[in-house]
């Protein structure tokens, strides 16, 4: 396989692309890692209401170092701010928001996404010692939409967009869109549909890096 010249998206660009697709008024939970960066690219005057599993609705940007409120942390245990209009609830109510289908969107990282929308993002082996699931299964199964932001392949070039997840599942048939460093793809009844690619990349080159079959929009 010969590569033509192309420029993969960097982490910030991946977050920016997802951020650009979030309309005002959505209730959104962002997972740890690149998904967390998404919030930085939603302008404050486009009101998107960020949720954190530990009972926070209406998270704002990170605080200045001299303005930390020690009683305000997010699910990643980072200090946060609360926007005007933000509110607090207990853990069961917070997960009622998630599990009751009230979040418009959740953005998670993943190890693998299958072309039927299955996601694996919490353990890399069936025999993982002491795997940590946190709120990922609730978010994946509960949010109205699940988007994934992840690299297109592992460091050794193995595709993370697969026909069938080999890692333990987080949830079945729930991913709606994937933002990778190479492309943006929707998960549809036909499988992965390519919405956009990194500059200079061809569909052929993208397919060469992808286990799952890629489609163009109908």
């Amino acid at each position: 396989m010969s590569d033509s010249a192309f420029t993969p998206f960097n982490r910030v660009q991946m977050a920016q692309r997802a951020a650009a697709d979030i309309p005002e008024g959505w209730y959104v939970n962002l997972g740890i890692g690149i998904p967390t960066l998404v919030a930085d690219h939603v302008p404050l005057d486009r009101e998107v209401i960020f949720h954190s599993e530990n009972g926070i609705l209406g998270m704002g940007p990170a605080p200045a170092k001299d303005a930390i409120e020690p009683w305000l942390i997010n699910a990643g245990k980072q200090y946060i701010t609360l926007r005007q209009g933000g509110s607090i609830c207990h853990h069961a109510d917070s997960f009622a928001m998630i599990r009751g289908g009230h979040l418009d969107l959740c953005v998670l990282g993943a190890f693998q996404v299958a072309d039927n929308g299955d996601i694996a993002n919490w353990a890399t082996s069936e025999n993982d010692t002491a795997p940590a699931v946190g709120g990922a299964m609730d978010l994946a199964a509960g949010a109205k939409r699940l988007w994934v932001i992840m690299d297109h392949t592992t460091k050794d070039g193995t595709s993370k967009l697969v026909n069938k997840c080999s890692y333990p599942l987080t949830a079945e048939s729930c991913v709606k869109r994937v933002y990778t460093n190479l492309a943006t793809l929707d998960v549809t009844d036909r499988g992965f549909v390519v919405l956009g690619m990194a500059p200079g990349l061809t569909l052929e080159n993208l397919q060469a890096r992808t286990d799952a079959k890629l489609h163009l929009p109908a």
């Binding site: 949720h51 209406g58 209009g85 509110s87 607090i88 009622a96 599990r99």
Partner: protein, 227 residues
């Protein structure tokens, strides 16, 4: 800018379809969205299933909605009231369906609908008429029955304060079913005594976060008059 406030009753009621399930908060006349019920009467949707703690009184509000033949079925714990004539007349004539549910079971079923719990076991009603036809299960030596979530297509709520994000507070016994009706309904419509600025409600004091609210209409009627 998110602004869930609407400027007219017509806007508040827009899109409610025939055949909807409407969850109605309130207990006695406290925390009861009377203006919205009148709005629903005006709006015209029919063939409704209404879940509420009781089945209306006199010839106003829910009783009026029933009297107009717009309610196919009522789900409630206590169909009696100081003046239940409308309900009783319709019920005896076979013109309205009744599902009696213990008050705690109806509350938990509504909360379950909001929380993504489609069904749960409960001890309430075991050994009674309420348990007939329901799945029974013994868990740790006690018998329970399975109850289903009660989802609303529309929820009508009365708040004390609301902001433009739809954050709500309630006043004293006005809270009652309101927070769970807001959680359980696809379209939650709120009438509020006070509209306040964003941030005016302390984050620790929000009773219903805006995520559960779709529309807010300002109805500053003052104190409830009686029952």
């Amino acid at each position: 800018m998110i602004d869930k406030t609407v400027q007219s009753m017509a806007d508040a009621m827009a899109g409610i379809k025939d055949g909807s399930t409407v969850l109605l908060a309130g207990f006695g006349s406290v925390g009861q969205p009377n203006a919205l019920i009148d709005g629903l009467i005006e709006q015209g949707a029919k063939d409704l299933t209404v879940a509420a703690n009781n089945a209306g009184s006199g010839h106003v509000g829910l009783a009026r909605l029933m009297e107009l033949g717009r309610v196919r079925k009522i789900v409630c714990s206590f169909p009696r009231s100081s003046d239940p004539v409308v309900f009783e007349t319709l019920y005896r004539a076979g013109k309205i369906e009744l599902e009696i549910v213990p008050q705690g079971t109806i509350a938990e079923r509504i909360r379950a609908a909001g929380a993504g719990v489609p069904a749960f076991f409960t001890a309430t009603g075991v050994g009674t008429k309420m348990a007939v036809g329901k799945e029974h299960r013994e868990i740790d030596g006690r018998t329970y029955i399975l109850e289903n979530a009660l989802y609303g297509d529309v929820g009508l709520v009365e708040a004390w304060e609301a902001d433009r994000w739809g954050n709500l507070t309630y006043k004293l016994a006005g809270r009652n079913f309101n927070p769970i009706v807001a959680m359980a309904s696809k379209l939650t419509i709120v009438q509020t005594q006070h509209v306040v600025g964003l941030g005016d409600i302390h984050p620790d004091h929000v009773h219903t976060p805006g995520i559960f609210v779709d529309r807010v209409l300002h109805i500053p009627y003052g104190d409830p008059g009686g029952f």
